[in-house]
């Protein structure tokens, strides 16, 4: 493993040790047309296509409506790239009502588990997305690594 990986692991491990089960983040986010346009372009989604509501309103693709563990609980800049982002290993999401483009969504994410497995530091985050009408729009659970750095395999 490179020095870069070793340095990143030290930072990630210190961060992992600070994270507590039960810790949560809550914030409002407007799902803007700009966000959706960028998402559908990057993910090659046929939008608006099937994403038009009963009153001809534009709907956000379901894949954009979730709590991002790395954004909520991960290391951010100016930390080195191997410490940031990370990757999903598992996702479980349920959808309850459409999210309109321009709608303000309240996201809440809570750490429900953390562990070291196969060299990676993981967090498990349970989340909800509540629509502007106060009703649940989506909820889920994400399994996500903290960064890309990993302990060398035995």
């Amino acid at each position: 493993m490179s020095d870069e990986n070793t340095v990143a692991l030290e930072l990630i491990e210190a961060h992992f040790n600070k994270i507590e089960i039960g810790q949560f983040e809550e914030f409002d986010q407007v799902i803007t047309e700009e966000m959706v346009s960028e998402y559908v372009l990057e993910h090659r989604i046929n939008w608006p296509g099937n994403y038009i509501g009963t009153e001809n309103e534009l709907l956000a693709p379901p894949g954009i409506v979730f709590f991002r563990p790395a954004v909520g609980f991960g290391l951010k800049e100016p930390n080195p790239p191997l410490t940031r982002a990370g990757f999903f290993t598992r996702t479980d999401r349920t959808f309850h009502q459409p999210v309109r483009v321009g709608e303000s969504i309240r996201f809440r994410g809570e750490i429900t588990d953390k562990y070291l497995r196969r060299g990676y530091y993981y967090i498990v985050v349970d989340w909800t997305a509540t629509g502007a009408n106060g009703a649940l729009s989506a909820n889920g659970r994400e399994w996500h690594t903290l960064g890309w750095a990993r302990h060398p395999q035995d």
Partner: protein, 119 residues
């Protein structure tokens, strides 16, 4: 809409779709082609499910996936699903096996999905 029971046994496919997005740091970690974020897999699966279930997916869709292997930047991904059962005789909910593979047929993600067929 056709009868819910008639859907069981059907297969659906979406793609192939070219993955071009990259995750910061992934190239450093893998030492070769940067990985496409796994949210891309999820995006293609939900695109397929929205196409199949229509507006009901937004209110009654459920998708649980394990990501097994990253898609490399510049590779193509295809999402596939088999409709395996109806939840029970009294509901209109369909259950699916769902997965993604690359152009070489390697399994990238797999899981289950379900949604009402009619409300």
């Amino acid at each position: 809409m056709t009868n819910v029971g008639d859907q069981v046994g059907k297969s659906i496919v979406h793609g192939p779709v070219l993955g071009t997005a990259a995750v910061g740091g992934s190239a450093l970690a893998t030492g070769n082609s940067p990985a496409v974020p796994n949210v891309f897999h999820f995006a293609q699966m939900t695109e397929m499910l929205v196409e199949f279930f229509g507006p009901l997916w937004f209110q009654h869709g459920q998708l649980a996936v394990r990501y097994l292997k990253p898609l490399k930047q510049g590779e193509e991904l295809t999402a596939k699903a088999n409709i395996v059962s109806q939840s029970d005789h009294y509901t209109q909910r369909l259950e699916l096996e769902i997965w993604c593979e690359n152009s070489g047929g390697e399994l990238l993600a797999s899981g289950t999905a379900s949604c009402l067929w009619s409300s």
